[in-house]
Amino acid sequence: MKLRPLAIALAAALLAAGCGGGDADPGSTDALPPADPASVTGEVTVLTNRTDLVTDGTMKKYADEFKKTYPGVTVKFEGITDYEGEVKIRMNTENYGDVLLIPNTIVRDDYPKFFANLGSVSSVGGKYLFTDKSTVSGKVYGLAGFGAVNGFVYNKEVWAQAGLTQWPTTPEGFLAALQAIKDKTQAIPYYTNYKDGWPLTSWSSVVGSVTCDTKAQDKLASATDPWAAGSDLRAGDGLLFNIVKNKLSEPDPATTNWEDSKGLIATGKVGSMWLGSWAIAQMQDAAKKAGKDPATIGYMPFPAQVNGKYCSVLSPDYQYAVNVHSKSKPAARAWIDWMLDKSGFAEANQAVSTVKGAPLPSALKPFTDNGVQFIELSQEKAGLFNKIDNASEVGLNKQDYRQRLVDVARGAAPGDLNSVLGELARKWSEAAKLAGS
């Protein structure tokens, strides 16, 4: 017990050291594109969540290709498995690489404290998609690496076997289709991936897809019920609830396995899964490994139409940013621009390039063929949205409330759809009122 005052003094000293470190001026806080590639020099450390691409040498290949244009720049990679958790802690220091992906937990208003300015909205926003997600008072602080849409990955053979040829146009139609799969085939119509949890978070991406409203995300940042009748979330969460309630999903959700689910859908043991378009390539890979035709993996939009057209929301993946304390900002910026414009990274991953006007990946060809309309959501109120989401502990983009929804639907927890969503809506509006919206 005698150690207590000493420990507190030590803690105070450490805290003071931690807080006082940020004052040294590292020079300009801008990271603008360098005019002459040959004149850029320096070493750039890139933090990435794609540890697989670092270990298998893919990132090294990109770096070598980059060096051909920028001979004076050396790029090094740091693959981080627990990206969110680790980078968040490192951001309490100045040492978080030169180029990094903005962790989701960083509040947008804090961007200028951590990241260098990449240019004004008028200059950068004209060239790239999704810039308003990272714009603070007219300046852009992050550029999305690539974009994706959300939809149902499905096994075409299973659907054909159940006599289904058309994409359903309503949630009820979708349920009927799953019922037909259950009745006519051996497949599990839908796989929730409940145990791993994170695949459930992609259900948040229905926001905007149902109503085809570009302001749908901003509208959530208020005290109104996010699950009101006719809303995007009501349609999405309602569909998930009914799929489970009608026993159209796997019998024991608590022991699902993400890696196994790829093989299950590829071999026709599972009929469908709601996932981002990035998953298509992985499922096709799984089909190849199982000796099946990759073309059996299909992709369809959320079953809802506005004026006879499906709507699909293009949403950004992680955004690249330059550390405001970086000593080689021009080189860091050069790497980001090269990755987005020249590397071909998005195409290689069947993802949507964030350069405006770039063609869509081939995986989304069925969407364009069927006249699916692509929209980008306004992110003007993203700051307030996150504030309400955290304060209310609802976690709209987290797995917990949807796991709860699945539990209630399968009768493993008390309540019904209305009681679960009603309780969430109550928490949401209380937090929204406190947050002053």
Binding site: A11, M91, Y194, K195, G197, P253, A254, N390, R404
Partner: protein
């Protein structure tokens, strides 16, 4: 040692002059580690519990007792302690089993060392690996179902998916994993009982039960009471196994998982620190109560 007479001479001289300084030198490494990795983090945690820090923001604000106020005005945050009861019951089952095996294996039996190894082995396996092993064990048509089917039992039970069963299954894993630790503690205590006492008892014609009741039980009382404290504090702070196996879904949420979620999902580092401080206080209180109710006494067997 002859190659470094100077150093030896220095220490010897110092030890002669200031014996207490040498003692501190020996303690220094352990103290430095203890302070850096235990007391400093605890002090910072207590400090965070009085702020609204979100985990990244460079300028947390001091908010006084408001985190504690919020914590105690939300009874649902404490409801999760109900889950701890499952683990508490399991801990007592574990202590009884460990005691049984320790006593049996302290007498000479066939394959004694093999059984000791078998019982202790699970404790050596990394918790993450244990969780993964049991994910396969509990899944539908997994090991458990296959073994039951071999005996003609077809339950169709979802061992992790059924809210009435999930905590039983998970605490079962915990018993499997920590049985070995209790067992070794008990075995060590039993073997430190002087052999003459056993000999005297057998000369007097004492039965196995009498030996246990009058020699072994009083001999291991301090270890038994330590095990009870560990069991209670362990049940209050269950984390690893349910976090990996179910992520706290279903009805398996524990207080620590809930705290981690507050801190890292909702960025309420201040509130989560307050919750952790409360848990620490509870464990200290229970330990103190337990020490008061069962005072440590020097058992003298002779």
């Amino acid at each position: 040692m002859t190659s470094r007479p100077a150093a030896g001479g220095f220490f010897a001289a110092m030890a002669k002059r200031r014996p207490q300084l040498t003692a501190w030198l020996y303690l220094a490494a352990a103290l430095a580690l203890l302070i850096t990795f235990t007391y400093v983090p605890v002090a910072s945690m207590i400090w965070y519990s009085f702020t609204n820090w979100d985990g990244v923001s460079p300028d947390p604000q001091f908010v006084g007792w408001s985190n504690y106020g919020q914590l105690f005005s939300r009874p649902e945050l404490f409801q999760v302690f109900f889950v701890s009861l499952y683990y508490l019951v399991a801990s007592f089952v574990q202590i009884v089993l460990a005691l049984y095996f320790a006593v049996v294996l302290s007498f000479s039996t066939w394959f004694r060392n093999l059984f000791k190894g078998v019982l202790f082995f699970p404790y050596l396996i990394n918790g993450v690996a244990v969780a993964f092993i049991f994910l396969y064990f509990f899944r539908q048509g997994g090991t458990l179902d296959s073994v039951l089917a071999f005996f003609g039992v077809h339950t169709g039970q979802f061992w992790l998916g059924d809210p009435d069963w999930v905590n039983v299954s998970l605490s079962g894993v915990s018993v499997w994993r920590f049985l070995g630790l209790n067992f070794v503690l008990f075995l060590g205590a039993i073997q430190s009982i002087p052999q003459e006492l056993h000999e005297a008892a057998s000369l007097d014609g004492a039965s196995r039960w009498q030996v246990f009741r009058h020699i072994i039980a009083p001999g291991i009382k301090p270890v038994l009471s330590l095990s009870v404290i560990l069991a209670i504090s362990g049940s209050l702070s269950v984390f690893e196994i349910p976090y990996i196996m179910t992520g706290g879904s279903g009805e398996s949420l524990t207080f620590v998982i809930q705290t981690v979620k507050l801190a890292f999902q909702f960025n309420k580092m201040g509130l989560a620190s307050a919750a952790a401080v409360v848990l620490l206080a509870m464990v200290l209180l229970i330990t103190w109560l337990q020490r008061r109710l069962v005072p440590e006494e020097r058992t003298d067997l002779t």
